[in-house]
Amino acid sequence: MHSGKECVAMLLAGGEGKRLGILTRDKAKPALPFGGKYRIIDFTLSNCTNSGIDTVGVLTQYEPLILNSHLGNGSPWDLDRRKGGISLLPPFVRKKGGKWFKGTADAVYQNMNFLEQYNPSYVLIISGDHIYKMDYSMLLEYHQSKDADLTIAVIEVPWEEASRFGILDKNETGRITEFQEKPDIPKNNLASMGVYIFNFDMMKQFLFKDQNNIKSSNDFGKDVLPLMLKSNCRMFAYPFHGYWKDVGTTESLWQANIDLLENNPNLDLYEQHWPIYTVSTNQPPHYLGPEAKVEQSMISDGCTVFGEINHSILFPGVTVGHKTIVKDSIIMSNVIIGSGVKVEKAIIAENSSVGNNSRICRLDNVTEDIIVIREYSIIPHDSIINSTYTFKEIILRTGGKLK
């Protein structure tokens, strides 16, 4: 209103997602496909839309091309605004050159001009790596009611995973009394979700201080938050109880997708009051052929299925041939699977094709690994694949075998 926006979001979307291997070779982690038609970043963007936040700066860095074209003018999220909307904020090149952001706090600091332009009262910091549904307007209300300088959304995590997170302690009013980034021996299991609301003035003050400290890694969790706590800022914890997932590995990406096939999954994509928006594919409804058999699965627009789909997810535009069996697998957009194929416990990335009578499944049933086929792979007829397929484009003679 008036001269400024009440709350502007800064969405950190530069994550490499190294442990996701070949799936993040050509795209940042927030651009990873998820849930039958979405990309991971759709969840945080839809949270913004559904929470009434209409100004989002997206900080990109690692492999931003797919992300850029996915975000476009922001219209799927109703973020095609005249004032505000989505702004892509890649690292900036000055005459003398440019470099990547040092840490999360540096990324925001480097874009202070962007924030100043809106002069918000509050800044919401979120990460495009996480899958969850959260009403940030409730978080903001909590922040205001506590008269806080900074509010951190927190969630209880399993004790054994606690050392992967920023762990904090609070008193009975919710005020944070302790904060440790990735402690070796966590004192409790209350973890920061990496979702912060700052008073803009306070944030500026501490980002400047942090930049002046040449020893700092300029990271919110490692540097800025501990500094603020030491300076006796009013920091509060906002407890969150819903589904929240940081899919760090191929296994957890597979599991989080497959979990959606439960009858009442923890993450409910079908809630009318909290839709998840994404880019439209403009494809017709999906078609199941006369001999198709589909059970415990999710199928998207533009798919054509003649075979059998069991406990699997098909993204838009997938074709599955006659007498093919797809089981416990995630098939991403526009994959073409021929006839007589067997796919089991695999992730086949976008735009790949699998020739007739191929087998993509573990030979032994002992290992728990997921087979991953990289995007744009071309798998010839009669191939047998039982390990991760990393070639971008390959043409083997028919009957070739990859180990």
Partner: protein, 373 residues
């Protein structure tokens, strides 16, 4: 194609589709799982490079205006700088009780046509299932120096030719040699479509020279009556084409989409068919689902059996329910053990447990929107 304005006309009465048009105009009738009829002609225009499309509204247009929104799904900005999407509302000073032909609609929007930048108009009805490339038509029109060029169709058994009641003779160069009235309907194998192109100046002349008495239509009273003084040409239409003017044709063309080659032809060549995105998750199949030979849109939840049918978005089919040879419009609830055969089920209908709705192929059962049975 920048100097061609696409005009989507209202050329028939809504009530030809009975229950399907009870609460909406024909342009916004649901079709093909997640489209509205207007999507096909509008996408054809956009895919042909037309950058300004004008859509007439007349009655019951709320769902149409809502569907078109800002036009962004077709990449046409509503009310943009002399291009994009224009919605042409009727003149409310006139009585609207009955549809009296499209001339008054054109006439009350003459200012709009005069002001617009494009030099030519491509006028098409809103009840066409098609994916046409109009560039060849416009090229042919220019080369032949025609006053008006129609698309026509040859040997198409699904076209209802009685509409025209004219005997059509087309010369080798495409010129329409004869368009004589014929009392008993048309025995010609060639049928003109209500898709034609002409200069904007000619359109304005035709409309303004007709006696404006609030009735009459452009095609019969403007063009055909003057056909002796006009150079009329015809150009063959390629690709799948359905003109929907009866519930039987609606069903026929819907079920044709279960044919993979027709689907491929209609939905991908020469461009995609765009529609309003409803932001729905994929359709979910439970353990007991049995679905074959069917087309399903997003956001459905399937536990029952579906055969040779079309399901629009957000329908729930419970365990033991059985749907066969039917079309289910959006947001229906089909309860346990219900049986549906040869039916068109309206939007938001609830079918209770073990209820049977059985039509016949030649006598479909059509259930109105929001019925609870």
């Amino acid at each position: 194609m920048r100097d061609v304005m696409g005009v989507i006309n209202i050329n028939i009465r809504d009530d030809v589709l009975d229950e399907l048009t009870f609460s909406r105009c024909i342009s916004s009738v649901h079709f093909g799982g997640h489209y509205r009829l207007i999507d096909f002609i509008l996408s054809s225009m956009v895919n042909s490079g037309i950058q300004h499309a004008a859509v007439f509204t007349l009655q019951k247009y709320r769902s149409l205006v809502d569907h078109l929104g800002t036009g962004k799904e077709w990449d046409l900005n509503l009310n943009s700088k002399d291009e994009g999407l224009s919605v042409l509302h009727p003149n409310l000073f006139h009585s609207l009780k009955y549809f009296q032909g499209d001339l008054q609609n054109f006439y009350s929007n003459m200012d709009f046509f005069k002001r617009s930048r494009q030099k030519n108009v491509l006028i098409a009805g809103s009840n066409m299932v098609c994916n046409l490339d109009f560039r060849e038509l416009v090229d042919f029109h220019r080369r032949s120096k025609a006053d008006i060029t129609f698309l026509y169709r040859e040997n198409d058994p699904l076209l209802d030719v009685s509409l025209w009641r004219r005997r059509l003779v087309i010369g080798e160069d495409g010129r329409i040699l004869s368009l004589e009235p014929s009392e008993k309907g048309v025995d010609s194998k060639q049928v003109l479509l209500e898709i034609f192109v002409m200069s904007k100046t000619l359109l304005i002349d035709l409309v303004e020279n007709c006696v404006i008495n609030g009735t009459g239509d452009l095609l019969h009273d403007g063009i055909i009556k003057n056909s002796n003084s006009l150079k009329l040409f015809a150009f063959p239409a390629k690709g799948y084409l359905g003109v929907i003017n009866s519930p039987a044709l609606y069903y026929k063309h819907s079920m044709n989409l279960l044919n993979p080659s027709i689907r491929k032809e209609l939905f991908s060549q020469p461009g995609l068919i765009y529609t309003k995105d409803k932001d729905l998750p994929p359709t979910k199949y439970m353990r007991s689902a049995e679905v074959t030979g069917s087309l399903l849109a997003s956001g459905c939840s399937i536990e029952g059996r579906v055969e040779n049918s079309i399901l629009f978005r957000e329908t729930r089919v419970e365990k033991g329910a059985y749907i066969k040879d039917s079309i289910i419009l959006p947001k229906c609830q089909i309860a346990e053990g219900a049986q549906i055969e040869h039916a068109i089920i309206g939007k938001g209908v609830s079918i209770s447990m073990r209820k049977e709705i059985k039509g016949r192929k030649d006598n479909l059962s059509v259930i109105a929107d929001r019925t609870i049975m």
